[in-house]
């Protein structure tokens, strides 16, 4: 039995029955990481020592009868979550040496549940990107085809889960950064309602859009992670006070009979890869078979989401990233002549080109004389986009779309043209603007054997039924069980630079 091929739920049962110890499990994952990492590069930091120590504690805890469902489960954390004592880079040279003095709330909650941190996964610099190619620490490759991108910005987490280099992972999603890589690597990824999970200690990109979430092998696994990650937090005033339901239980109770799934016609225009269209149609047929009704709906402002997002997100980013000044933490230039020189050289050396582009864009749209024309205008259109969804949810229970218009593209294919890269998120960013929960789950393969993802969007705080609807689909299909074949032997044949 290959232990690294198991789901979180299966692994949890093995640990509970004491058929495997957390130390054995962790060592198996560390071995697999050692074998695959040179080919995939899913991690920025691997913490073998810390992981094995945590595993020993987890085993002791289990012996004492104090285990939770996640005790002893080896995870990868996106390198955007602060981990006390463990380097947290956010994919940037600016934070290459940054060792946080505290844990993010997400990190702390998962640690307290007994989950193990194998390492910190690769990501686009400051989560700005859709391919993990803007990381200062090098690219991550898609385990299904090593010449292709894994999506982004949580591409390291997605690749690690797909390649069996961790049981599950954490990610963050500002415009699709959990769902798009989940789709492109054939895993299940959930972006919860804005505010469902605390953002404390999660390095800020665009604060009104950022949200953490689980990336896993199934909806059932994602529910177990969300259970621990979700909940209000006094350290994040935007975290929601609503009680956290028992997701694992409610997952089993979702009914599709008589429920309505809406298909927004704006998501099925030209530019959709034909195989993606076919896979989504087949998924609809399965939902019909499960008793749901498929309804055609309209989200009329869909096409305005990209320009709206690329005003609001860079505006917030330019403000958030003003803190990197070389004074208190992070990179500092050598021998600054004066304060002006300190700021300019520190920031110019520390940030990569996509981050600089977005800071400049954000600074421009907020600058005197342009604020009304761009930023204010975008905030108004944001409301129109959010109202579209609100209107749609008076007619349907969930909205069903493709997660990405295409399967994984080739490395370097879109790096020269920022606008083309921005369009990779065309089906996901609307959801962030509206603050809604949405997940991506695998629903097919194209002729190149690359995974296709289906996106389900739900009402605010309805993660339980969203996961339930995904779980029912995964009971009927086995797309989520497919894994890249012969990864170990295939990787040996590819020489990496």
């Amino acid at each position: 039995m290959d232990i690294c091929a198991l789901t979180l739920t299966q692994t949890m049962h093995l640990l509970q029955k004491k058929e495997v110890s957390a130390v054995e499990l962790t060592q198996s994952y560390l071995n697999r990481i050692a074998n695959l990492e040179p080919h995939i590069h899913a991690f920025i930091t691997v913490d073998s020592q810390g992981a094995l120590q945590a595993a020993q504690l987890a085993d002791t805890r289990r012996t004492q009868g104090d285990a939770t469902p996640l005790t002893g489960i080896p995870l990868a954390h996106k390198d955007i979550f602060c981990t006390q004592g463990l380097t947290t880079t956010c994919g940037s040279k600016m934070l290459a040496q940054f060792v946080p003095p505290y844990d993010a709330t997400v990190t702390r909650r998962l640690r307290e549940a007994g989950a193990i941190i194998l390492g910190k996964s690769n990501m686009d610099e400051f989560a700005m990107g859709s391919s993990t190619e803007t990381s200062h620490f090098g690219i991550t490759r898609n385990p299904w085809d090593l010449n292709r991108i894994p999506g982004g910005s949580s591409g390291g987490s997605a690749a690690a889960v797909a390649a069996g280099m961790c049981v599950a992972a954490t990610g963050t999603d500002t415009g699709g950064s959990i769902r798009q890589p989940a789709s492109l690597t054939g895993i299940t990824g959930l972006k919860p309602t804005y505010g469902r999970i605390s953002r404390f200690g999660m390095i800020a990109f665009a604060s009104s859009l950022d949200q953490a979430g689980p990336m896993a092998k199934s909806a059932e696994d994602a529910a177990l992670l969300l259970q621990v990650m979700a909940g209000s937090d006094p350290l994040d005033a935007t975290s929601l006070p609503n009680p956290v339901p028992d997701y694992a239980r409610s997952l089993q109770q979702t009914q599709l009979q008589g429920r309505k799934l809406g298909l927004p016609k704006e998501y099925f225009g030209d530019g959709l890869q034909p195989e993606v269209r076919t896979a989504i149609e087949q998924a609809c047929a399965i939902y019909k078979k499960l008793g749901a009704e498929i309804v055609s709906i309209s989200l009329p402002h869909t096409s305005y989401a990209i320009p709206t997002y690329y005003i609001i997100a860079p505006a917030e980013a330019s403000s958030n990233l003003a803190r990197y000044d070389g004074v208190r933490f992070g990179h500092r230039c050598v021998n600054p002549q004066d304060l002006h020189d300190l700021y300019f050289r520190t920031r110019s050396e520390g940030f990569g080109s996509e981050v600089k582009r977005r800071i400049m864009l954000g600074t421009y749209v907020l600058s005197s004389g342009y604020y009304e024309a761009y930023y204010r205008k975008a905030q108004k259109v944001r409301r129109l986009i959010a109202d579209d969804f609100q209107q749609a949810f008076t007619q349907v229970d969930w909205i069903l779309t493709p997660t990405s218009p295409n399967t994984a593209f080739r490395l370097g294919e879109k790096t020269q043209d920022p606008v083309q890269m921005y369009y990779s998120d065309i089906f996901t960013i609307n959801v962030n603007l509206a603050g809604l929960p949405a997940l991506s789950l695998p629903c097919g393969m194209d002729k190149e054997q690359l995974p296709i993802g289906l996106q389900l969007i739900g009402r605010p705080l309805d993660e339980a039924n969203l996961l339930g609807a995904a779980h029912l689909f995964q009971q009927e299909t086995d797309w989520h069980q497919l894994r890249p074949k012969n990864l170990d032997s295939r990787t040996e044949m590819i020489n990496l630079p």
């Binding site: 003095p101 309602t193 804005y194 505010g195 009104s208 005033a237 935007t238 929601l240 006070p241 402002h301 096409s303 305005y304 990209i306 320009p307 709206t308 690329y310 005003i311 330019s318 003003a322 000044d325 004074v327 208190r328 933490f329 992070g330 500092r332 600054p336 004066d338 304060l339 020189d341 300190l342 300019f344 050289r345 920031r347 110019s348 600089k356 582009r357 800071i359 400049m360 864009l361 600074t363 421009y364 749209v365 600058s367 204010r376 205008k377 975008a378 905030q379 108004k380 259109v381 944001r382 409301r383 129109l384 959010a386 920022p418 606008v419 962030n432 603007l433 509206a434 603050g435 605010p460």
Partner: protein, 95 residues
């Protein structure tokens, strides 16, 4: 009028970024393309629309004004690039 080289130079200065002459031209070209995309929003009449600053209409909670995290100066200085005697040291500001 599309964004000009001078605008990009000005914005880079506001953002405290040093940009090389080659980068200036690349960024001007790319930003012009991105801003062109944004001009699509002008097709929409929005005079009567209330701007949306936050994803959900919730009131921010207040807490009592009590100290929860006492002095952590030394811990917070561990990440400082140039700490000295409990301070962050920076180049001379007043000549």
């Amino acid at each position: 009028m599309p964004i000009q080289v001078q605008n990009v130079e000005h914005v880079a200065k506001l953002a405290r970024l040093e940009i090389t002459p080659e980068e200036i031209h690349l960024y001007t070209e790319q930003l012009a393309k991105i801003l062109e995309l944004m001009d699509q929003l002008n097709q929409l009449p929005t005079d009567s629309i209330l701007p949306m600053a936050h994803a959900l209409d919730v009131e921010l909670p207040l807490r009592t004004d009590t100290v929860t995290h006492t002095n952590q100066r030394d811990l917070l200085l561990t990440g400082a690039p140039d700490p000295e005697s409990g301070h962050f040291r920076v180049p001379k500001i007043i000549q």
